[in-house]
Amino acid sequence: MRSNSNQYGVLAEFANPADLMDAASAVNKAGYKHFDTYSPFPIHGMDDAMGLKESKLGWIVLIHGIIGLLGGIALQVWSMDIAYPLHISGKPYLNFPAFVPVGFAIVILLSAFGAFFGLFALNKLPRLHNPLFNSDRIAKATDDGFFICIEATDPVYSEEKSTAFLKEAGAIHTEIIPK
């Protein structure tokens, strides 16, 4: 374990999405937890192969939407009926049908903020530095490369065994990424 302290992990490149998926499945079954697959586009079925749980983003958006709904109603009720009730062409102060469009817009706006900022919060972005970029090959992950990285923080990780395991799984190239 001492020898791993200056390592970020082992990076393995695979030839295509299918190989990557098979390897991800094998890595998951071998008991690794701190690993990720890198690809230029989302691969259908990869979440299951890696054994990932459902994204929590939906709940974040729901909470934002509810805040938007309550806030939108509160804003209109408070300003039209409490703060400064104003008689406008015989309409009631609490004119709920007229409050629907603005209330709706605020729900959408807040939910969109939830989806946008929630995405970054869950992905821990923006991030100024990532040891992963110490590798020269990882730049291909945004072009046409398919990678798995098993991180050194994983309890099952060992430099030799993990590298051999990924080679076994069909990697066309492996390297150790320094921290």
């Binding site: 295509n16 098979d22 990720d36 989302p42 039209m80 817009a105 959408i108 992905n123």
Partner: protein, 465 residues
């Protein structure tokens, strides 16, 4: 297998023999190439036109809205016409990026980035007009629910205020959606560009994206939720724009058909605008492999459908004007078609109802030159539709003694033309500096992106055997 069955292959979304790397190269090379001469010329012209717009707006603010051709019965004219027209154009971008995404239309990937950018810039042009038409622009902040020294609040009973919320929400949500889609492609640019400064800039805006599946998982969820939010939003925005008219009691405006009719018209004109821009761009940047004739044909079908809805709405309006039995309403419609603005009405009918009929024929749908001409004709027609709705109803309302006629001044005309300068200034910057096609999404619809492509019958990947 018997002779009367055959496998119908799926139509290839990307033409030519492209793999992942060649798609990356095709798109990411464009911002890295030397800036072409035509770009400088186009950008220069756009800047001058935009400067004219700014001068006209300065003059308007200095002198007051009287510099426009507005008069007593016609208090809304080109300003609101232009506003509705530009917002409508924006709607096609959201339709392509959100609604076609929810319907799993893979072909949208070639044009969604492009159309979303068009949406943002079109909504910017649109928002300008209501902002400057208020007269006292220094008091524009009164439209927001901000605490002020008079303790007054905006009137939430008013469709004009609903419009403020709808358009602002639309602009913000469209921009967020656009940016989320851009992040993986900005990361591609970061990894491709050579210069230190450009690498730093793309890298900053890519926010450290790695392409890890744990990121993709949340990304896909976020993208789907944003698409799901944008879909009702885009329908509501033009619905609320139509409420600006429909909630009033002016004959010709006070009709319940307005929301669906306006939304269909918006999609109609927006698709035409996407086509106009796309046909030029695919030629200039040689993107015919990605933006194929199949795309043009599919968009022409949508134009035909929405154009028919618009034509049907014109007919229904007339029918209801007669069937409703309200004299003023009847007059408003007969007056539209045969009164002092009959010229505008018949331009509208020719452009919007007659011209899309060409697209019943497959040969015409796949004809690039004809599509380009008709896309411009349709946008002229849709401008006139808004002009007819806004101006004819106001010019001749209940009391003949107050009837009038609207003629635009040079300020009206130059402000409108100037918004094209604004639009194209931003659009050209987008074409120059950002990946104009969603690289990661196009890769995702290639057959090679599906793991099943590599597997033989026993379920193992071909290369690992």
């Amino acid at each position: 297998m018997s002779q009367n069955t055959a496998i119908v292959p799926n139509n290839q979304l990307v033409k030519g023999n492209h793999d992942f790397a060649s798609i990356t190269k095709l798109i990411s090379d464009i911002p890295q190439e030397r800036t072409p001469l035509w770009w400088y010329i186009a950008f220069g012209i756009s800047n001058i036109v935009m400067a004219v717009m700014l001068a006209m707006i300065a003059w308007l603010i200095w002198e007051g809205v009287g510099v426009w051709g507005l008069n007593n019965p016609v208090g809304w004219a080109w300003d609101i016409t232009n506003f509705v027209w530009w917002v409508g154009i924006g709607h096609a971008g959201t339709l392509i990026s959100a609604i076609l995404f929810l319907f799993r239309q893979g072909w949208r990937t070639a044009i969604n980035r492009f159309a979303e950018s068009m949406t943002i810039f079109a909504v910017m042009c649109a928002g300008l007009f209501p902002a400057i038409h208020v007269g006292r622009i220094w008091a524009i902040y009164w439209i927001f629910p901000l605490p002020n020294s008079m303790q007054l609040w905006p009137n939430f009973n008013s469709p004009l205020l609903w419009d403020v919320f709808a358009v602002f929400t639309y602009l913000i949500v469209s921009t967020l959606f656009w940016y989320v889609g851009l992040i993986p492609d900005l990361a591609t640019m970061r990894d491709k560009v050579k210069g230190t400064i450009s690498r730093l800039l793309y890298g900053t805006f890519a926010l450290g994206w790695t392409g890890g599946n744990r990121q993709w998982q949340n990304y896909e969820k976020s993208y789907m939720i944003l698409a799901g939010l944008s879909t009702p939003l885009v329908l509501s925005v033009h619905t609320i724009v139509s409420f600006d008219f429909a909630v009033s009691i002016i004959p010709g405006w006070h009709t319940t058909i307005f929301p669906p009719y306006f939304v269909a018209g918006a999609v109609f004109s927006g698709f035409a605008m996407v086509l106009s821009l796309m046909i030029i761009t695919r030629k200039l940047y040689k993107l015919e492999d990605i933006m194929t004739v199949d795309h043009i044909e599919k968009m022409n079908i949508i134009i035909l459908v929405t154009g028919t809805i618009v034509g049907f709405a014109y007919a229904i309006e007339f029918f209801i004007a007669w069937y409703g039995g309200v004299e003023y309403e009847k007059f408003a419609f007969v007056n539209r078609a045969f009164g002092p603005y009959a010229w505008a009405y018949w331009i509208m009918i020719t452009c919007n109802v007659v011209s899309p009929q060409f697209f019943w024929v497959k040969k015409f749908r796949r004809n690039v030159a004809l599509t380009f001409i008709l896309s411009i004709v349709i946008n002229i027609g849709m401008w006139f539709e808004r002009f007819v709705i806004v101006v004819t109803s106001l010019a001749q309302d209940f009391l003949p003694s107050s009837w009038g006629y609207f003629s635009p001044t040079y300020v009206d005309v130059l402000t409108y033309i100037g918004t094209f300068g604004l639009f194209f200034t931003f659009f050209l910057l987008f074409l120059r500096f950002l990946p104009m096609v969603a690289i990661s999404e196009v890769k995702g619809v290639l057959p090679q992106a599906n793991p099943a492509y590599y597997r033989s019958n026993n379920g193992k990947s071909k290369t690992t055997e």
